[in-house]
Structures are given as C-alpha cells and as structure tokens.
Amino acid sequence: MSRNWKRPVSVTLAATLAFSLLAGCGAKEADQQAASDKSLRVAMALSEDEWNVMRSDVLPKFEKDNGVKVEAVQVEAKDIVEKLSAQQKANKVEIDLITQDVNELYALVDRGLMEDMSSYKDKIPDTVVKGMIDVGTFDNKMLFLPYRPNVEIAYYNEKKLKEANLTPPKTWDDLLKVSKALKDKEKVGRVAIKANLEIDNVLHIFDFIRSAGGDPYVLNDEGSVKAFTFMQQLYPNLSPDSKKANWNFMNQYLATESVYLGQNWPFGVNKIVQEGGKKEIKAYSGWAGPVKESHTLGGEVIGIPKGTPNKDLAVKFAEYLMSKDVQETLVSKLAWPSVRSDAYGKVEEWQKPYFEAVNAALQNATPRGNVSYWPTVQQALLDAFKDIVVDGKPAQETLDVYAKKIASVKK
C-alpha cells in the first residue's frame, strides 16, 4: 500500500515543477509587455568608463523629461547583427535603438534590419558634419542618423624615438626612414600598421591609396599603384606584430613597447596613458602621402531596427543624442569629438594634446563610401594587399586583376 502513493506523488511533483517553469516564462512575457510600454532599450558598445558617463550624465535627463526608463545594454558591433536578425525572425524586436560603428553597417543594411530614416532628415541639426550624414546613407536612403565622428590617430613612444634621434614622421618618406632606422637599431621592426587582413587592414589601405590621390573603388589607377608600391617597400621594415594588430591589440603593442609607432582609435589614450600610466606615449594626426594626408572617417551612427515597438520614442532619443547638450557632455567627459560644429566642451588638461590630434586628423577625414558591392571591394583590397605587399608580386599587374573584379560588380 505504501508503495502505491509514491508514484502519484512523484508524477504530481514533476508536473508542478513543469507548470511552474512554464508559468515563469509566461510571467516574464507579461512583465516584458508592461516594461516595454514605459521603457526604451538601447544597445551600445562602450567601455566601463564610457558607460559610467552615459548612465550618470546622459540617460537620466532623457528619462526625466520623457517619463521613461532607458535600459542600456552592451552589444558589440559584430554581435548586434545576429541579435537583430534573430529578433526579427522571431517577430519580437526587443532593441529599440542601436549605435553602431560606421565601418560595420554593411551587414545590417544587407539583411534589411534597419528602418528607413529618410523622413526624419529634418531632425538632423544643420550644424552636423556632412560626412557623418553620408556614412549613414545607402542608395539614397538615410538608414542611420549621425552620432559621433571618430578617426585613427598615430601614437608614438616619444622616449624611444628620442633615444633613436627620430621625430614622428609627417610624410611617407619620413615614415620609411623611421621604420628602417628603428629596424636597423633594434634588429626588429618597431613601426606597425594593421596588416591583419581584416577590416582594420582595409581602412589603412584606404588611407594609403587616398593619400596618393587614388580611388580604392577603381584600384588600378596611378595613386593606388603608388600606394601599394610604397606599402611593399615599407612592409619588410614593419614590426611582426603588424600581422595581428587590430583595434584592440595595437594598444597592447604600444603599451608593452613592442611597437613604437602605430595608428589606432583614440580610445587607446585611456587604455595606454590614463590606465596604463604610459605618459611617454604621445599622439599626432599622422603622415601625408604624395598628394595629401587622408584618414577614413569612423565613428558611430544611430539606427532604429525594423519592428521596434517604440519607434517614436527611439526617434526622440536619437534627437536627444544629437542635441548640443549631449554632444558637449560627450566632449567634456569622454573627449569624443562632437558631430556638430557648434558644440564645444572642455576636455581635461592631460587629454588636450590627444584631442587636438583627433581634431587635426578629422580635418582630413573622408567617409569610406557605401556601395552595394562592398564585400567584393573589401576582399579585392585584402587579396591585393596579400599578393603585393606580403608576397611581393608586381603592383600594376596584380591591381589590374582585382580592379577588373570590382569593375564587373559595379555594373
């Protein structure tokens, strides 16, 4: 008799557990629905210090003025594409607004994940940098709103360069001389470019080509040939770290002194100088080619995913991020260059030289350009780099091959 009650009790307990788990899921749905009515979920990719400023100096005012809760979540540029794809496939978009790296927009556009913001052009202040509007425009549709411009600067180890009686190079000739001198002195290259055969590499190739007056979307013009020929001469004198250098590792190489000169984004200032205490690491805008100094305009833009339940509120938040007050806060607290020419902020004393370097580089910054055949262009540039710069093939003949590939998809 005692055995008979055990089985029904076990089955009842298992069923209760199963129902409570299901009820938990249902409760979350109800909570989520209630929460989404009064909240805005925004996805950004920021460091901890940047989040501190965002949460204490930027979000509270918007929350107070609009009576909403802004739930800000950390999502890296590469991960947001998959997250939004999954949410849209499930018909459950839970992210209302994103800020995205301008060089990581293609996948979002290609998969049709973003709302067309063309009808909101009037929300963009007149003083916004035009280049930052162009970077968010694809096939005459404005898919992203401008947020913050950014550009790579050249970091150098002042102490090490002084020891070698060298100064930061301002031209290609100087760059080649400095790289050779350091390699001769230290028996290993100490100048790095991002030669990792990924997007970081592509941006550096763009800079070299445009500095020589070339067009990366043509690829076999005179300027492009000059650029690749120069990179071919430079490569043997570069640090071996160039093969792995990206936006993250370049800071480490500069900080641990395996590289004395290299370009990277300005966030490296906080990592290397402020947190790492390496005050001998200075920065300037960089070097010019035979025609000009050229940098690819980076930064972030604001996008609103298709299917968000809070589109109007998201547009309001986008306007808020572009406002003069917020832009000045971002300048003062984070030393981010403003997207508006009328927004001024006061950066900390120790940040001033680096901020000036960024602003100087921005004077020569141009957008990468948005083309529907971008994957072909990216692959052609990287393959050309590998063939010519790394493997030493002749520049003109090799570029002719890849130029044909780009020309064929342009049609």
């Binding site: 788990l21 938990g24 899921c25 249902g26 979350k28 749905e29 989520q32 979920r41 996805a43 990719a45 920021l46 460091s47 901890e48 739930e71 979540v73 950390q74 999502v75 890296e76 991960d79 998959e82 997250k83 794809s85 999954a86 949410q87 496939k89 499930a90 018909n91 459950k92 839970e94 992210i95 993250n248 480490q252 900080a255 641990t256 002194e257 395996s258 990592k271 290397i272 947190e275 790492g276 205490g277 390496k278």
Partner: protein, 267 residues
C-alpha cells in the same frame, strides 16, 4: 635511469600548462610599470591589490558570477538526472540497439554550435527564454547531454549485471537495484561526467552570447573586459573565472577512485 623520464615529462608539461595561469595571476597583482614594459620581471616585484579592488568596487562581477554558477550547477544536476537513467537503459540493451543509440547521440554533436545557435535563439525568443537562466540551461544541455550520456553508458557497462541479479535475489526491485547497487558503484563515472558538464557549462560562450542581452554570464563579462577594459582588470576577471573551476575540480576529484569494483563479483 628510465624511471625519472615520465616524471620529467610530467613536470615539463605541467609547467607549460601552468605558465599562462601564473602570468594571468601575476598581471592581476602587479603595478602597470611591471607589466607594460618590453622586459617584464618573472616574479611579482611591485604587488598591488588595486586592480582587484576596482573589479570588486565596480560591482559588475557579482551578477554574472551568480548567473554562471546557477546555470552551470543546474545544467549539471539536470543533465545527470536525465542522462543517468537513460544511459543505464542503453547500457543494458543488446549490442545492435546500444550502438544505434550511442551513434545517434554522437551524431547530434556533429553540428557545430555556431551553425545552430541562430535558429535556436529565434525559437527561444518566441518562447521568452532569452535572458533567462532556464533558457541557458536548456541551451547548455544541447551539447552536454549527449556527451554525458555517452560517458555514463561506458560507466554502466563496467558494472556487472550479476550484481543486480544478486540484488534481485535478495528481494530488491528494479528501482532499488538501480538506486542502491548500480548508482553508488557508478558514482566515479557520474562524478567525471558531472565535472565535464559543469566545466563546459561554466566556460560556455556561444549560446550565452546569443541568448543573453542584459544579463551576461561571467565568461561574457570577462570577454567584455578583454575587449573594452584595461589589461589588469581583464586579468583579474580571468583569475576570478578560474577560481570556481579549481574548487569544483577538487571537490569532485575525491569521487574518482580506482579499483572500486574489485572483489565485488566472485567466481
């Protein structure tokens, strides 16, 4: 002469395995000038708690740690509860059916997690399982359950059926034989399987990346600091990530006893 060779090999490989862990530990407790230099010292010369203090003061470590602990432990428990009885049954099947089931289990492991995680995350979104511990537990069971079942089938196979028959003769039911005779003998194998599942779930990254938005696990949080944080806090997070692994390994290691079945069956 030859007796010391295996010991030498073991010592060398142990040092090779431990060096990265030591470097991680050293960076988390060293001042920046001892790390950010072309020739860092081998030992900790200028000791500092600053980096650990920053990590704890930020408060960002506790929620991910709790989430990882809960998910890993429940994945292990649920996995063992589901896999143990199933593996016992498979181990007692005829050879043909046993191999069909084992191969079927291993076949599911041929699909890379990266390939299936997107459709899984779509389904989990529809079922409100994203950003929940339950969702992560279910996701972690996908790769771990077949693996655990495979280990436990081998474990149960080593337990002679004669022991169960002896228990039946003494009046035990099927369930009593399983719980009082077979499972205690299978404890070392279950401990090994449980340990693997816990470690796999604790370190798991892909499903956590897709199935969390605001509530990260500790590996994701550590990855965030490696990407966006400074070198020292990254090292502190990495050391912190390793501590529960060391504790759990020591706790479960005592169940790994050899020769437990010797003398159990006579003749």
């Amino acid at each position: 002469m030859k007796k010391w060779v295996p010991y030498l090999v073991l010592i060398v490989f142990s040092i090779i395995m431990l060096i990265p862990v030591y470097i991680m530990f050293k960076v988390s407790l060293s001042t920046p000038e001892d790390v950010l230099t072309a020739h860092p010292p081998y030992w900790i010369q200028n000791f500092t708690w600053d980096h650990w203090q920053k990590v704890f003061e930020s408060g960002n470590i506790w929620a991910p740690m709790e989430k990882s602990l809960v998910v890993a432990t429940l994945t292990m428990v649920v996995g063992v509860i589901l896999a143990a009885p199933a593996s016992y049954v498979i181990s007692r099947m005829g050879r043909k059916w046993k191999y069909i089931f084992i191969l079927g289990l291993l076949f599911t492991r041929m699909f890379p997690d990266v390939g299936i995680v997107l459709p899984i995350s779509v389904n989990f979104l529809e079922w409100n399982l994203v950003d929940t511990s339950l969702g992560l537990i279910l996701a972690h069971l996908i790769p771990n359950l077949p693996f655990l079942a495979w280990i436990l089938v081998s474990t149960f196979e080593t337990i002679p059926r004669d022991l169960e028959k002896a228990a039946y003769i003494d009046g035990a039911s099927r369930l009593q034989s399983l719980t009082r005779v077979v499972l205690p003998l299978a404890l070392p194998g279950i401990a090994v399987g449980a340990l693997f599942v816990w470690l796999n779930s604790w370190n798991e990254f892909t499903y956590s990346l897709y199935l969390t938005v605001s509530e990260r696990t500790l590996p994701l949080q550590t990855f965030y600091y490696i990407n966006r944080g400074d070198f020292f806090q990254s090292a502190a997070y990495s050391v912190f990530l390793t501590i529960p692994v060391i504790i759990i390994t020591f706790v479960l290691q005592r169940y790994l006893k050899a020769g437990q079945l010797s003398g159990a069956v006579k003749g």
